[in-house]
Symmetry: C2
Subunit: 224 residues, 2 copies
């Protein structure tokens, strides 16, 4: 249990989907924390000291104790601050939440990333299929408002990039990836998720992210 005298810092980069997960989890718990902005490919010595193995963000530092890897951090947050459980209490439901969270990380994340950064159209088509196959599995799994039931939980937070990143990719590249016609339940989930107060407060500014990704994408096209 957390004490009253505590210092919580999150080392991150605004716009990183892994960092956003931790922002949302901390906000859901009502934890006050300091966001320490790092620079992509030029991490501070402090960050490297805290995460010498992977040298990447996010790193949560709670009373000088560092924790890395977004899903590990989220379980730590859930076990440390009591209100608004992120994982269910029943062991079987916890196992299912961990399974689907891992599924999203293993199957959807890399596919979405490849869709965003592949210029070759045929190649990209293959990645879109792979991504949509994972979306279809998630669509079939979704029976409530959120994966966590009526409130957001581990699976929703892990999938934050589907709700917030995918529309940015759609806008910049001019694709339709997560439509209401193809994935009615997952599309509605994405809307409910980004409009959830706890999430909305922590999502990076959309216009800034669109501009950032547009610049990156155009530099990719130019260097092709």
């Amino acid at each position: 249990m957390a004490s009253n005298h505590e210092e919580v810092k999150l080392f991150g980069i605004v716009g990183s989907p892994f960092v956003t997960r931790v922002d949302i989890a901390l906000n859901l718990k009502g934890v006050q924390y300091k966001f320490v902005e790092e620079k992509w490919k030029s991490f501070s010595d402090t960050l490297i000291k805290y995460n010498p193995v992977y040298k990447k963000v996010p790193v949560l530092v709670h009373n000088e104790k560092p924790i890395s890897e977004s899903l590990v951090i989220i379980e730590y947050i859930d076990e440390t601050w009591t209100p608004n459980s992120i994982l269910p209490s029943d062991p079987y439901k916890r196992a299912l939440a961990r399974f689907w969270s891992k599924f999203i990380d293993d199957k959807s994340f890399s596919a979405v990333q490849k869709v965003a950064f592949t210029l070759d159209e045929k190649e990209r088509e293959k990645h879109i299929e792979e991504m949509q196959a994972s979306f279809q599995i998630l669509e079939n799994e979704l029976t409530d408002k959120f994966f966590g039931g009526e409130e957001i939980g581990l699976v929703d937070i892990t999938g934050a990039f589907i709700a917030s990143w995918v529309p940015i990719i759609e806008e910049v590249i001019g694709l339709k990836l997560l439509t209401i016609e193809k994935f009615p339940k997952l599309y509605k989930w994405s809307q409910d998720f980004v409009n959830h107060q706890v999430v909305k407060e922590k999502l990076p500014n959309r216009e800034t992210q669109v501009a950032k990704f547009k610049a990156l994408y155009e530099s990719l096209v130019a260097s092709k």
Copy 2:
């Protein structure tokens, strides 16, 4: 908490390092279970019904409820059966255990697998370096008898393949990978681990595994 009337089945393949993890975790807890042997590349309809997403072993079925993914299963086992904790109770120590367990899965496992199945010597040398780099990080982390302290825990169980598989690869291919000279602490750990009563009872028969891997390796060489 588990009731007295329960049915526990483990769908697996003898020799699979992911299945062995679950065998060890169940044995550590003293859980009685039925091992249902599956066939590699020819899984039963029951297995596919229980794990339709990945169609692979291990699957633990507890009172008809299936759970997949070895690390998810191990956390379920730890939360369901009380004796002999697999994860520490302190949230920070739990986070560290999950971090190192994930590290072994992400960094050591694929490297060991590539060392075992790469025939090109130059290519293999690269994989050996990668594998030994991950071993060096684990060597530096090891301060007690086991990663879990005086008793085995999550990180030890995740790393079971390092202690049991790597010596088989060494024997069949004729390499020295995990030596007492290069990794004194990790080597001693591997010995303590395979000789731990709970582990010893569940490790697949060494001669059978050597023969299996030898046959597989020779068929690889022949088809080169």
